[in-house]
């Protein structure tokens, strides 16, 4: 990230010919840094969480853990929080790079705080999915693939669906803008679009105008991701002691 920041500053100052760094360029740097950070979060979270239970199963340590007085909920939340703690440390370690952006101005600390909060929410949700797949699958590799698949769905496929749904709805209404709740939903659950709207509120107005739905993107994102995380954690807790379920 440091190489990227200094590279960016070098390029902007040398190409502009002015020799100084303008606030609007600082904002662009902030935006790019945020997307790099988002990429890192989405890339590392599955790697840290998708093996948390299945690795224990593969190493034959899970049965011992299950006979301790820890409840299933405590084990799952413990696994999740240890992964999240590591990721938070990574985010905090990246803050000095952000401070460089503050040095040049153009960004408010509140904006950064808000973005960090959404990073944490995204981490918790993707992490919960990692733990859920790790609990319900026997092999870590399968769990990894499933978690990365979910992550790709949330970041890439949803954006694709947003565009497709928007186009289809527009075609159905004879080429004029019409209300498209589904397109708004796909936009609301995409982390990339959310970060765009947080960085530049006009993006939200643009999405709202396209979909003809006036529902805050951040709120839709929060509701959906909180529900997803809660469902994934519930499934993990239920499936952790699967052999203790009534059988035959």
């Amino acid at each position: 990230m440091s190489i990227f920041v200094f590279g960016f500053i070098y390029l902007t100052t040398s190409f502009s010919g002015t020799g100084y760094f303008r606030p609007e360029e600082s904002f662009m740097l902030f935006g790019l840094l945020t997307f790099i950070q988002l990429g890192l979060v989405l890339f590392i979270t599955p790697g840290l969480t998708a093996g948390s239970i299945s690795t224990e199963r593969e190493k034959q340590t899970l049965n011992i853990l299950l006979t301790t007085s820890q409840s299933s909920m405590q084990i799952i939340l413990g696994k999740l929080s240890s992964s999240i703690a590591f990721l938070l440390l990574m985010l905090v370690a990246g803050l000095p790079i952000y401070s460089l952006v503050f040095l040049f101005g153009g960004i408010s600390p509140g904006q950064l705080g808000l973005i960090l909060l959404f990073f944490i929410l995204t981490m918790i949700t993707v992490g919960s999915f990692g733990i859920m797949f790790s609990t319900i699958t026997k092999k870590t590799i399968v769990s990894m693939i499933a978690t990365y698949g979910t992550m790709i769905f949330l970041t890439g496929i949803t954006a694709f669906f947003f565009i497709i749904t928007l186009q289809v709805d527009m075609m159905n209404s004879g080429g004029i803008q019409s209300s498209s709740p589904m397109a708004h939903f796909w936009a609301s659950i995409n982390p990339g679009i959310l970060i765009f709207t947080l960085l530049n509120p006009t993006t939200e107005s643009f999405v709202n105008e396209m979909t003809q739905i006036e529902f805050p993107i951040w709120l839709g994102y929060t509701i959906f991701y909180v529900l997803l995380a809660a469902s994934a954690i519930t499934i993990s807790v239920k499936k952790l002691r699967v052999n203790m379920k009534k059988s035959q």
Partner: protein, 311 residues
């Protein structure tokens, strides 16, 4: 106290356990004997709350494994037949982690860990990485781990499997110490002589059914009263072999010409055996010794499970 009532575990049409009933009083050391796949580990997994029975129930100090698993877990120390360790932990950190999992305070854990390591003779390995310990040491460390919350009941699934003779003796000594501490211990093994010296009671399981239960001597008595007798002679004679073969209670007579010995199974009473010896001496058969061979658990197990079909 452990009470097992009609415990059954079915996988499709296969019975891993079939109507197992067993009651063990406090402080008993119970040896569970059975071939691989007989149902020992299934029983232990159910008792350790890792597996739900198809029917029946088991109670540990009155707590049901089906309806109160959380309470049962506080009262048992479980050591599975196969287990792994966290490779990035040292021996004391390993115990500390599990101590914390049982909700033991940091101060108490700091007190307990050296005591437990001493009990399992691993004091010198306190700061060694668990992954680098030998198999025997890992087994002992796992036993220390099972004891960290001072459970009254210990469920040890094949604790000595894969150990060399020295490690096996060390494990046996530790278990004797635990027996003296008044713990109720359930221990399984398919290596039968391992259990003979330390168990108060033995249960033989085959095809998911408990086919014999009692003290070691009780089970040996179940061998249909048959005794194995070895007679050593000063020079083996056919006359001696013929004499013993003529006795109606003697079967399966074998001669060992190298050792000058005759071995046979004897089905008569002790009085009949006395008479046989008296007659043999009167016949001047040059007998050096006339001894009843002690039947080991291996023989008992083979005899008891003979003809029992796996279901």
């Amino acid at each position: 106290m452990i009470e097992i009532k009609g415990l059954t575990k079915k996988y499709g049409s296969l019975y891993a356990l079939n109507d197992l009933n067993l009651t063990l009083s406090e402080g008993t050391v119970f040896g569970f004997v059975g071939a691989n796949g007989a149902g020992k580990s299934t029983t232990f997994s159910i008792l350790a709350t890792l597996l739900q029975p198809t029917s029946g129930d088991a109670f540990i100090n009155g707590k049901s494994v089906k309806t109160e698993p959380h309470e049962v877990r506080k009262q048992i120390g479980y050591m599975p037949d196969f287990f792994g360790v966290y490779d990035q932990l040292k021996a004391d950190e390993y115990l500390d982690f599990y101590g914390a999992s049982y909700g033991i305070s940091g101060v108490k854990r700091a007190e307990l860990i050296p005591q437990l390591l001493e009990l399992v003779n691993l004091t010198s390995k306190r700061y060694e990485y668990v992954d680098l310990l030998s198999r025997g040491m890992k087994q002992r460390l796992c036993l220390a781990r099972a004891l960290i919350h001072d459970p009254q009941v210990l469920i040890l699934d094949e604790p000595a499997s894969g150990l060399d003779p020295r490690a096996r003796v060390e494990m046996r000594d530790i278990l004797k110490q635990l027996k003296e501490m008044g713990k109720t211990i359930l221990i399984s093994s398919h290596i039968l002589p391992e259990l003979a010296g330390m168990c108060d009671e033995i249960g033989v399981i085959d095809g998911g059914k408990l086919i014999a239960h009692g003290s070691v001597s009780d089970i040996q008595a179940q061998l249909k009263g048959e005794r194995l007798i070895t007679v050593k002679l000063k020079g083996l004679t056919d006359r001696a072999a013929l004499f013993f073969e003529e006795d109606p209670f003697v079967t399966g007579l074998e001669q060992n010409s190298e050792k000058h010995a005759i071995t046979f199974k004897y089905r008569g009473t002790e009085d009949d055996q006395m008479r046989l010896l008296k007659h043999a001496l009167q016949e001047n058969l040059s007998i050096l010794s006339f001894a009843e061979q002690e039947t080991n658990l291996e023989d008992v197990f083979m005899e008891i499970t003979k003809g029992v079909d796996s279901i």
